[in-house]
Every structure is written in C-alpha cells, then in structure tokens.
Amino acid sequence: MPQLTMVEALNLALYQSMDADDRVCVMGQDVAINGGVFRVTKGLLDKYGERRVFDTPLAECGIIGTAVGMSVYGVRPVAEIQFSGFAMQAFDQIEQNVARLRNRSRNKYPVSMVIRTPYGGGIRAVEHHSESREAYWAHTPGLKVVIPSGPRNARALLQAAIDDPDPVIFYEPKSVYRAFREDVPDESERMEIGKAQVVRPGDDITMIAYGAMMRPLLEAVDDLVDMHDVNPEVIDLLSIAPMDTESLVESVRKTGRCVIVHEGPKTCGIAAEIIARLNEHAFEHLIAPIRRVTGFDVHFPYFQVEQHYLPDGDSIIEAVNATMAFD
C-alpha cells in the first residue's frame, strides 16, 4: 500500500475518477499546464488532454458559473478555486445557481459538480489565503460541504464527491497537504458523504473537529490520556453538511461532555451548530456546558502572529480539563 501525502492522494482520486467516467473534467486557474499551484492536478493534462483538463480565465464567478452550465449539459466538472478566500468572487454563482438550480428547475437540472478549494491557516500565507469559511456554505441550503483530514479520507471523499448527484464544496486543509503520509490503497475507495467517523472511542468526553484541526486535537488527546487521565472519544466530522447528527448525539449521550474545535471564527461557526443540535437531541445527557475552541471573530491574522489565532494542543487541553472539572 503506497504511502501518500494528501496532495498525492487527491491527485490519485482525480486520476481514478477521470479514468472511470469520461464526463469528469477538471477546470480552474492554472490547473492544466501548471498542475495546480499545489500540484493536486499534476499530470492530468498529459493524460486526458485539453478537452477534459483546461485552464480558465482568472475569474472565479466565471469558473463556477460555467461549471454549473456544463453540469446542466451532463458534464461533471471538478472546478478548482485556487484559494478558498477567492471563492467570495464566486459567491453569487454558488448561492444563485450551484445551490439552487436543482430546486429552481424543480429537479430538472441537478448540479453535479465539485468545487475543490484549499482552506485554512498555518502555512504562512498572505492575506485571503488562510480563511476557513465553511460556515458560509453550510448555511446555504442546497450545498454539501466536505472537509477531509488526511490522505486516505481525502481520496475516498473526493471520489465520492465527484460521484455525488449534488454540488459539493470540497475544502482541502492545505496545512495538511504535505504534512504527513498515510497508507492509501491502490484501489478506489468511497466514503459516504454525511457520515462522521469515530477515530478514537472513549468514555469521558466527546471531542469533535474536522480538517486541519484534527492534528492539534489528536496531539491534545495523547497528552490528555497520558498526563490527565482523561479518556476522550474523538470524532472527525468529515462532512459539515449534511452533518452526522446521529453519531455526535450518540457519543455525547454516552460521555455527557463535549469540546468542539474549529479554526473558523467563533460566532455562528460550525461548533455553534453542533451545540444547537446536541441541545436538541442530547440535552438531558449533558453534565457540563459544551465548550468550543475556535478562531477569534477577527480576520485571519497576518502570518507572523497566526499561531495566536489557531487553536492548538494547549488550548484544547485547557478546554477539556475545564469541561472535565465541571460536575
């Protein structure tokens, strides 16, 4: 089983989906000759040619709008937005057409397309290159929002997203792109969109994160187990929308405690939504108030101070300890 980085795993997913289905095409800024600024689409042009792998003008609204049209005509575009911060230029198309066309056409024109885009901080990038705005998309009815956390689930989720009959915003944690390698089987895999994964069973507290935040969370878990005598259950959300409420509720009904971690701003973030759902479905099981470890309600800081913004192992451990202390 080859050991791949997330970039390599995503690249493999694209090869495998393009091999399996002639309708799948890859479009975006610098995706063809250049293979993408992060090299996720490397080599695809050579193998599949300009018809299926093409560079677009520098126009996010145009990329997403035309991708919608292509999907209406039966093509399955995987459109790349070079950085998720640039997706704001395409907000209009995502809201007006990507999310709505199936509904507006009363099911005649489903939009089966994927918007791939790197998100998140921690790579010392310039402004608008580090945002985590998944809550925007999750708040838009009609979109699916998926965020992998490692190479293997990235490959499996991207292939599932390409197969999906509905539009998927596929957020790629760019700080994980080359951070580590993982066994990724040669044969295609699919993970069901809308399912979370319990990556570590435990009894004391439920810890929930997704994407890039799974790494500091798992580091914190090591310390919590070794030094704090806490036995957490860890859930990788994977799919922001739809959300696997059932798995979250089941876990919190067992543990009675919960800490949620994300790097997007705190107010109206995904953690707030999770807390609301746990309130609806696990209220009587709560021993302690649910805590969130998140970014602040500020614009993503310039990179000399970005580490102060991002949740880390320490801040997660503090939140868990404070939650555990409550009885």
Binding site: C25, V72, Y73, N97, R106, N107, P110, P165
Partner: protein, 387 residues
C-alpha cells in the same frame, strides 16, 4: 433622454471594415455590420436585406407577438385585480422576444431573464404555467419536459455564465447545438456578464448573447448605466462579434439571430446582439415610471411599435387583412383566457413543494424539519397535506 434610436441604414463607417449594404441575410457579417434594421417605423422594408421567410412563417411570428401582448395585458389586469403576484411586463418588446428564439431548434437551449414570457411561450411554456410562476407557485418554474430552457434567475446577470457553461458543455460533448441567453441593458454592468462574455470568447462557446436594451434598469437610464453610447461596443472588446439591431423590427431580429446561430453551429463561437427596444410599461407591477420618465418619451416610442410596424409590412405584402388582425387578436385573447382557467384550476399551494428538490435524497436534518412541520400542521387540525 436615452439615446434609444437606431440608424435607418447600416453604418458605413463601422469599426470592422465597411458596411455590407445589399447583402442577403445569410451573408450578413455580424462582425462588420454595426446597425441592422430591415423594417422602418412605417413598415417599409429594406429590400436588400429582406429575409426570405414563407408567408405562414411570417404569420406565425405575428401571432407570437400578438399572443405575447395579450398575455402581458391580461397579467397586468389580473395583478391589479388581486389575482396575480408581482410581475414584469414586456409591453413593446414583442419583436425582440419572438425574433430571438425564432431560429432555435428543440435541441438548442434558451436561458431567459425574467422579462421573457413571450419567448418562453414560443419555446413551449404553457400559459397556465407562466401564470403559476408569476403568482408564486413552485410548479411554475419547472421547465416543460421537452423544452431545453433554463428557469430564470432573478439576480440580474447571474444566469449568463451558466448559459456559457451549457455551450461549453456542447463543445465538450461535441454537439452542434446553440445556447441563446438574454439579459437587459442593466445586466451588462454586472461582472458576471463580463466574465461570461470573456469565457465564451476564450472557449469559442456556441452561445448567442441578446442584450435587450429597453432603455431602463427600473428607473436608471442607459446614460447612467454605461460609459459607451451603444452597448454593442462592449462585445468587440471581448473578441465577440457584435451587432446592434433594431429590436422593434422583427425581421432584423430574426435575421441577426439566425446568422448568429448558424455561426455558432459552425464552431465560430459566440455573438453579441444589442437589441434596441423600449419598455412601454412598468418595470414590474410594483413600479411607477411616472416618477422617472416623461409621457412624451413613451408617446414617441408608440410610433415605433413592433406589432404595428409588422402589420403594415404584412398588409403591404398582402399576407394580412384587417379582418385577420381582429380574428388573430380574438384567438390570442381566448388562448390567454383558457390559460387563465387552467391556471385557476391548478393554483393550489402545496407546502410539500417547500421541502422538495433540495437534493437528490433528502438529508436527515431536512427530513426532521419537514416531519416536524407537518406534524405541527396536523396537530392544528389543518387538512392533511398533499402527497
């Protein structure tokens, strides 16, 4: 006063190398001809440009324009009578509407803006459905099964990149079809439309852009909308062949659009057509044009009425009599009233439609919300919801 005029003859000093006066319609080079008019305001035809259209086809075009106007007037009355939602009349734009979709085949695609019910009827949208649409029923939006049309998006210009994408899809699938997309003068100020024009040019997408320049974006006149006197000048900057057409001249509309479609089908890419017309009525039923324009301006445009002009031409050709005019008017009115009857029969609000078609299969959170809502309705003793 907006410069809503069009030269009576093609401009001999056009940018792209001289005019082609006297060319037959099929030879009109849309990148060269700057202004196109075939019928003048008195219904006199420029014989050099007169298209070769059979009499029954001419009558079909005429009937389409009359039906559009009848529906327009009826829906406005219905709105004033409390039987119709807010809607956007298209009075005076009938030639632009019918002329643009005339060359399309059933395999071609049409992506309208909202002031397009004339073109939609021509394409096969039933009258009752258009009434459902404007009276706020989800069912109104579903494009008929055999009609390759997009439902319109209310956000100005947002549908144009999608239309270009459909054309790119045609190239991808190597089909020789065409996409026609229309939008207003205001839409040309939208970034999405600029991006769409650029994409179409870069990929040589088989798309025909119809800019229905009716002089106003609600209250904003064209001078405050654009720094160029004629919107047609926008196209060449993107590398898109462009032509300015008298939008109240059905023959000019049909001719220009036919040529544009043929070029697209031949793989020559997009065309931009500025159709110069005038919105004789309100922007929508929630608008009062007296606030921002003079009656005199409107009166002047009455002289350029597209239906009257076409009637004069058809009568001069001996294709249409005064009796025909009355008969066709009555037939169209009856068709509209029959559509209204059917609309009244079908206008049942079904709350299930709220939850339908968000995704191929309903996600759990939405299923839960739906179940809760219908339980609540049932608890209140309200009639069982449909389905």
């Amino acid at each position: 006063m907006p410069s809503q005029t069009i030269d009576s003859t093609p401009d001999a000093t056009s940018d792209a190398g001289g005019s082609r006066q006297g060319a037959s319609v099929s030879e009109i080079n849309l990148g060269v001809v700057k202004d196109l008019r075939i019928l003048n305001e008195d219904g006199q035809v420029n014989a050099d440009l007169e298209p070769n259209i059979a009499d029954d086809e001419l009558l079909r075009l005429y009937r389409g324009m009359v039906l559009t106007r009848k529906l327009d007037v009826r829906m406005l009355n219905m709105q004033r009578q409390g039987q119709m939602g807010t809607f956007a009349p298209g009075l005076g734009q009938e030639a632009t509407q019918i002329g643009q979709v005339y060359p399309l085949t059933s395999k071609d695609w049409f992506s309208p803006s909202y002031r397009s019910f004339g073109a939609q009827m021509w394409r096969g949208w039933p009258i009752d459905q258009l009434m459902l649409l404007w009276d706020g029923y989800f069912e109104g939006f579903a494009p008929p099964a055999d009609v390759n049309d997009m439902p319109f998006s209310i956000v100005i210009g947002s549908h144009v990149p999608v239309a270009v994408g459909i054309a790119m899809g045609m190239n991808y699938q190597q089909d020789k079809n065409v996409v026609m997309v229309n939008f207003g003068d205001g839409a040309l100020s939208e970034g999405a439309v600029a991006e769409a024009l650029n994409f179409a040019a870069v990929y040589k997408a088989p798309v025909v852009f119809i800019c229905e320049n009716n002089g106003y974006a609600i209250s904003t006149p064209i001078e405050k909308q654009s720094g160029v006197d004629h919107l047609v000048r926008r196209g060449p900057g993107f590398g898109v062949p462009s032509v300015r057409v008298d939008g109240n001249d059905i023959l000019a509309m049909v001719s220009a659009c036919s040529v544009a479609c043929e070029q697209a089908r031949r793989g020559e890419g997009p065309t931009f057509i500025e159709a110069v017309t005038y919105r004789m009525s309100v922007h929508t039923t929630a608008d009062d044009p007296k606030v921002y324009r003079d009656d005199a301006e409107q009166t002047a445009w009455e002289q350029k009425d597209p239906i009257r002009r076409f009637e004069l031409y058809l009568k001069s050709r001996g294709v249409l009599t005064d009796d025909d005019i009355t008969r066709i008017g009555d037939e169209c009115e009856q068709e509209v009233l029959a559509g209204r009857e059917s609309f009244r029969e079908r206008s049942t609000a079904n709350p299930h439609e709220i939850f339908a078609y968000m995704f191929e299969s309903m996600p759990p959170e939405l299923r839960e919300q739906q179940a809760e809502y219908f339980e609540r309705l049932a608890r209140k003793g309200l009639s069982e919801p449909n389905q």
